[in-house]
């Protein structure tokens, strides 16, 4: 029979799964809203982001309440500390969704000056990275951790190419600076979402093995592009 501490931890695990679903859903919806410059969809994303924050706060309260009441040690304490950190990472991903939706609002009256290919791809790569990292947290499954760096390399390549392409447009046109800035910023939000996934993966490794490990190409000095 599960102890009370195990039941509390199980409840928090469920909330973390829910937060993962909400955050990635909001993030992908925000990219779709930007792609279509869809104000109604952007407004929905902003609402979702508020709900994400509420769930993250509930997790924070539950974690501290559980530590205070049940005084866990070693593995259990590590698990709770991990949930707290991961909840923050997922909340940040929800915030990027909010900010992309905010950019959609600032785009009133503007149009895309090129077909959007890189940004939806970067968003998809970020989502895959988050999903792989979250398997380590929710299921203690670290089997996909090695895949993360491949996704990161692909994301780095795409970001570099996107920036080159935008630069080329800026050389030809003077009326697109604001939209070009939004493309760069949203590209960075995708990278930052993937960055949160690396932080999640590092916590997963810590939770499962008890070891602190740095993940990502930047830490191995292999990345040919900008640090994320």
């Amino acid at each position: 029979m599960a102890s009370q501490l195990e039941r509390y931890i199980g409840e928090i695990n469920k909330k973390i799964r829910e937060l993962h679903r909400m955050s990635t859903d909001a993030f992908m919806s925000s990219m779709k809203a930007f792609e279509d410059l869809d104000q109604a969809k952007a407004a929905e994303v902003r609402d979702k982001s508020e709900k994400i924050e509420e769930v993250a706060m509930k997790i924070e309260n539950s974690v501290f309440e559980t530590i205070a009441r049940r005084q866990p040690v070693a593995k259990d304490l590590r698990e709770l500390a991990t949930y707290l950190q991961v909840s923050y990472n997922l909340y940040r991903i929800g915030r990027y969704a909010y900010k992309i939706a905010h950019i959609v609002r600032l785009c009133e009256g503007l149009e895309h000056f090129k077909e959007l290919i890189s940004l939806p791809l970067l968003a998809r790569l970020a989502k895959d990275t988050i999903d792989y990292a979250m398997m380590g947290i929710t299921d203690r499954d670290l089997s996909k951790i090695d895949e993360l760096e491949k996704l990161e390399a692909e994301s780095d390549r795409e970001t570099g190419e996107m920036f080159e392409e935008i630069t080329e447009y800026l050389r030809q046109r003077t009326d697109i600076t604001t939209m070009a800035m939004f493309y760069v910023i949203i590209g960075r939000y995708c990278e930052r979402a993937a960055d949160q996934a690396f932080s999640i993966a590092e916590r997963a490794v810590y939770m499962v093995t008890g070891e602190r490990k740095k993940l990502g190409l930047a830490y191995k000095g292999q990345s040919g592009d900008a640090p994320h």
Binding site: M57, E60, F64, I67, A68, R69, Q71, P72, V73, L77, L80, A81, L84, Q85, Y88, K99, H102, I103, R105, L106, F163, E164, T167, L170, R171, T174, T177, A180, M181, V184, I185, R188, R212, A218, A226, P227, H228
Partner: protein
Amino acid sequence: MLNTRTSEITGNLTNLHSLVRTALTKAMKAFEDLDLDLAEEAGAVSTQVEKLHQQIEELVFNTVSKYQPEGIELRRLITYNNTSGSLRRVGQYAEKIGKIVEYCEDYDHFKELESLPYLADLAISAIDVSMRAVLDEDLSEIGELEKLEAQSDREAVDMFQEIADYLSRRRDISELAMYYIIIGRYCERAADQAIRIAESATYMITGERTKLGLMYHEDPESMLD
């Protein structure tokens, strides 16, 4: 005693704040001068930041577990944990700026760097304001943060415009231009962490979760941290 533990944590937070200031200042100076040695020093400070953050996190959890605090005492510990996390992230931005200096080994600046050091100064000032709110439990300076954020937003937009002008005239600078933009964003993100710290301070003192920052005033001109 809970008070003794709390004092130990605030002492560590004060040290962490100081380390983070040093890391960001050194990293920006290293980029300004494209100085690899200084970038390495900034990286070493960032490593210290990481370790101290881990110590603070462990202290907070052990304190909550051992003393089972409630009300303001629990909120204080939650705030210390969140503040430490925010400072750690600023340390990570400093480390990343240091990495960019390594990538710039074969480059020269194509313009005089004014905006980036200014953005770093604004971020450090914002963090100072927020840290006073946490450590002195005094929210009287919080209003300053939005002024600093507005200055930072204006500068970031002007910088992007200036870089776009350069890009339209020169073909050989796109990679360095990208680094300018990325470092500018790190500074903005550092300032964003200052806002997060101030929100935690507000929660600690009032018990209420409040949003700070220009974005929440629906200001259409507000930039995107």
